[in-house]
């Protein structure tokens, strides 16, 4: 197999996709050419005073038919071609198309006057297109073959070894037997072909090199982002260890492992545990974001969202009972299984549901509504809690942001939660919106409503999109 893809070209998915799109474009273009040929063969004579013989009509008609069948088969064959450097790949497919097109064009030129045929100009754009996508060696060989073909046709017609089929009416005198005309035309034709191939190939090469550099730069940015995230994970872990140890020790005292503790001291130690827990939650969230950015390794598993939400509600049972909050889950339409990363989605939903419960006063309501639409899953998580002030609703997904109406000192939070939720939803190609007041809020407790849309299949969408490198922002 001829090696058409040079080693220095990065054959990523995008590269093959571009080639495939190009092949489809060629096929479509050829259908246009077929239409033009039909018009030329049957309509052109009525517009200008050019006469085609019956033989020419038949020959062009037959060639057009062959071209049509050939193009139709290309349309179906193209789907079976694999993207591999070593075997018959989309670039070989393009080469075959160029070669067959040139052969058919040569036949057409032969039946429309040889050196007198204006169709030889079509060689030029074929060779330019070829030069943009093929290695130089291949294109120079094709250019050389084309020139030789023109020389042979002109010579054979000139020496009457084959018949000359003129386009009656184009020229007032016969040119195919005029050696000066033949030599001059062939000379300039050859020059045009060679220079076109040279220029097009050179420009294409430069573009390839630029694109390669861009890809490398993008990769470097990604690599340094990875290093940064690893560094953050390392540092944050170092910070976590002493806090975890502190909490372990304080818990030990509170749990009475070191003897009795007076209620007054216990109360303060409980506060210490609450505060260290907060900082540990914050650290865990940062670690999670880092992991999300660091490893693009979302697992894709089947998730029953309804069960997942039940699990989360179960986890908050204690606080829900304590605050006497009514948590209600409703489902609309037949349940559909979602593909996604279970750990991450659970984290996102538990953040939202946790917030709803946390910021809703005693005896409040939290409604979770899942609607399984055809294209995506829509989840509403609404409450009649403290709500989010108008002036701040746009900022809540920002990192380290906390609404200023959160004053209760028992509700210190990291402010990382919602930014993490948004990141997870984005990673699943979904969207998240927030509304406050919610539909069932009161002036005192306006409430908040989060709406998440998630597509069911993570993989399908990613495949469609192709695997592009992406630059991620840092923590």
């Amino acid at each position: 197999m001829i090696k058409l893809v040079p080693d220095w070209i990065d054959t990523n998915e995008e590269f093959w996709q571009t080639l495939k799109r190009r092949n489809i474009f060629f096929i479509k273009l050829r259908f246009v050419a077929i239409a033009m040929l039909i018009a030329f063969n049957y309509l052109y004579e009525f517009l200008v005073e050019i006469k085609l013989s019956e033989f020419q009509h038949n020959a062009i008609g037959l060639i057009t038919l062959i071209l049509f069948i050939y193009n139709l088969s290309l349309f179906f064959i193209r789907k079976k071609i694999k993207n591999a450097r070593g075997s018959f790949n989309p670039l070989h497919f393009s080469l075959v198309q160029i070669l067959v097109d040139l052969a058919i064009l040569t036949l057409l030129i032969n039946y429309t006057g040889g050196i007198e045929s204006p169709l030889y100009l079509f060689y030029i754009f074929h060779l330019i297109i070829g030069s943009l996508i093929m290695p130089g060696v291949v294109m120079y060989s094709i250019a050389f073959t084309t020139i030789v073909a023109m020389v042979i046709i002109s010579y054979l017609q000139y020496s009457k070894l084959i018949s000359h089929y003129c386009l009656l009416g184009v020229y007032k005198v016969e040119l195919y037997n005029n050696s000066e005309y033949i030599i001059t035309t062939l000379l300039f034709f050859s020059l045009t072909i060679v220079v076109s191939v040279y220029l097009a190939n050179r420009i294409a090469n430069q573009l390839y090199l630029k694109e390669k550099k861009l890809h490398e730069a993008l990769k470097e940015i990604n690599d340094s982002e990875m290093k940064k995230q690893k560094y953050i994970m390392g540092v944050v872990h170092e910070i976590k260890s002493p806090i975890a140890a502190t909490k372990s020790i304080v818990s030990l005292i509170v749990d009475g492992f070191l003897g009795d503790v007076s209620p007054k001291i216990k109360e303060k130690l409980d506060r210490a545990i609450i505060r260290t827990t907060e900082s540990l939650d914050m650290i865990n969230n940062i670690l999670r974001i880092s992991r999300l950015r660091l490893l693009d390794d979302k697992t894709s598993e089947d998730i029953n969202v309804s069960e997942l939400i039940d699990e989360i509600i179960d986890l908050s049972k204690e606080i829900v009972d304590e605050k006497n909050i009514e948590v209600e889950k409703t489902l609309l339409n037949k349940l559909k299984i979602l593909k996604g990363d279970r750990v991450l989605l659970k984290l996102a939903f538990s953040n939202l549901i946790g917030n709803a419960i946390k910021y809703t006063p005693n005896n409040g309501i939290v409604l979770i509504h899942c609607e399984f639409k055809n294209e995506y899953l829509a989840i509403d998580i609404c409450d009649n809690g403290i709500g989010i002030p108008d002036s701040e609703i746009n900022k809540i997904f920002e990192k380290y942001y906390r609404a200023n109406n959160i004053s209760d000192k028992n509700q210190e939070g990291a402010g990382v939660g919602l930014s993490l939720v948004q990141e997870i939803v984005k990673q699943h190609r979904g969207s998240i919106k927030v509304k406050s007041p919610s539909s069932f809020g009161t002036p005192k407790y306006p409430g908040t409503c989060f709406t998440i849309h998630l597509p069911y299949g993570l993989n399908e969408i990613e495949e469609k999109k192709g695997k592009f490198l992406s630059v991620n922002g840092g923590v």
Binding site: H237, K240, S241, A244, L258, S290, V343
Partner: protein, 126 residues
């Protein structure tokens, strides 16, 4: 009395673990580095090993656990982790690393005792 070896480079964690386990009636030996830990486990043959995943070097705990298993030491291993759960790596028993269970730091006495009892129970059945 059942002997449990605790290997961790954080002395506070060692002390906390020791206190919790002793209160539950276990005999505890604490070691603050993997080299020493390996030696003592070989010598004293505890019935349970508690091992921190990261000591001087990340993964020190994993390597030590692998070393024990390679040498045919089948003593149950309970691994202390500090970021595993946070970063979403919730291992199943024996998956990827040859340990029997995980406890995420900070240590909760209830969780620790529950897991220790479970592992020792499992081992007796073996």
């Amino acid at each position: 009395m059942t002997l449990i070896a605790v290997i961790d480079d954080d002395h506070d964690i060692l002390e906390a673990t020791e206190l919790i386990l002793q209160a539950s009636g276990f005999e505890v030996i604490t070691i603050d580095n993997p080299t020493e830990g390996y030696k003592i486990v070989k010598e004293k043959k505890p019935e349970l090993i508690i091992l921190d995943v990261m000591m001087e070097e990340p993964d020190d705990g994993f390597f030590l656990a692998q070393k024990f298993r390679r040498e045919g030491i089948i003593t149950p291993i309970l691994m202390y982790t500090s970021i595993a759960k946070a970063v979403g790596m919730e291992f199943g028993a024996g998956e990827m690393v040859p340990v029997d269970d995980f406890v995420e730091k900070p240590i909760s006495s209830d969780e620790l005792i529950k897991k220790v009892n479970k592992l020792l129970g499992d081992n007796v059945l073996r």
